[in-house]
């Protein structure tokens, strides 16, 4: 079980952050990912495996300013 944006998510198998983001249709170029309180650099998405208890906050940016 991990937490993403405050909601509990059950993992069914080994999954990297990149896999999770892709499966959930996030646009990689428009997001920032916080993992357990720290920013997760984009170059780490592929080799960071999600593990039980992880807390992710995915911020998606929309246009406008």
């Amino acid at each position: 079980m991990i937490t993403v944006n405050g909601k509990e998510v059950t993992l069914t198998g080994p999954l990297s952050v990149a896999d999770y983001l892709e499966q959930n249709n996030y646009q990689i170029k428009r997001i920032a990912v916080e993992m357990n309180g720290d920013i997760l650099p984009k170059y780490s998405y592929s080799d960071t495996m999600l593990k039980d208890g992880d807390r992710l906050e995915v911020v998606s940016f929309v246009g406008g300013g």
């Binding site: 170029k29 428009r30 997001i31 920032a32 916080e34 309180g37 720290d38 920013i39 650099p41 984009k42 906050e57 911020v59 998606s60 940016f61 929309v62 246009g63 406008g64 300013g65």
Partner: protein
């Protein structure tokens, strides 16, 4: 009164409004504003008016006629670089502010150099990929700096859906989180200004030592 106010006149008035103790902190404030559109120009106005002493204005673009529906520019600025136009406007409010400008597009390559001096960074871009690039870059390279960003402020939906959230220790996010501009619901002065005011007030709070939202 048509003469330029003296520094003493301006700071006496600011002290009277804010108290000398508060004004001292505001005058020492150092904020970089990335993007000088509807968000950035309004944030800059608010911070300049309360005498935030050191502002760094960053934008690569020129003022366009379609900017006038929400950005703090005038007809005579069309075609001018936003950095130059905004600096000239802010100095009409307070000519004693220290205003640095960089007319440049922020990229992964120049980000570390551009933001080295600021203690607080205001993300005020329009483009979502530029927003994400800046936020990722600042949080990766400058985790000690305060970052105030915004997403979701188009249209004329309820004012009350625009909020300030604290995403991480040093990362604050303003806006409704979801509303991108669409046909008939573009970026409009009132709601963009609400979001800009959220950013400006969070920045003010940080300068004055308040870290909670």
């Amino acid at each position: 009164m048509h003469h330029t106010l003296t520094k003493e006149e301006i700071y006496t008035a600011l002290d009277e409004r804010h108290s000398p103790e508060t004004q001292k902190l505001l005058s020492a404030g150092n904020v970089a504003i990335a993007g000088l559109g509807g968000l950035g120009s309004n944030v800059a106005y608010a911070l300049a008016r309360i005498g935030v002493g050191h502002l760094h204005l960053i934008d690569f673009d020129v003022v366009d006629i379609t900017n006038l529906n929400r950005q703090q520019y005038f007809m005579e600025h069309i075609g001018m670089y936003k950095t130059d136009a905004l600096k000239s406007l802010l100095l009409r409010i307070n000519p004693y502010l220290d205003i640095r400008t960089d007319c440049v597009k922020v990229t992964d390559d120049n980000l570390q150099e551009l933001f080295a001096d600021a203690t607080i960074v205001c993300e005020a871009f329009d483009n979502p990929e530029a927003k994400a690039m800046l936020v990722n870059g600042i949080l990766e390279h400058f985790p000690e700096k305060k970052l105030v960003s915004a997403t979701g402020m188009a249209g004329y939906g309820s004012s009350n859906t625009i909020i300030t959230k604290r995403i991480m220790k040093n990362f604050y996010l303003c806006g409704d989180g979801v509303t991108a501009p669409t046909y008939g619901h573009g970026l409009m002065a009132p709601r963009v200004a609400i979001c800009a005011a959220h950013e400006a007030n969070m920045i003010t709070r940080l300068i004055l030592g308040e870290e909670e939202i």
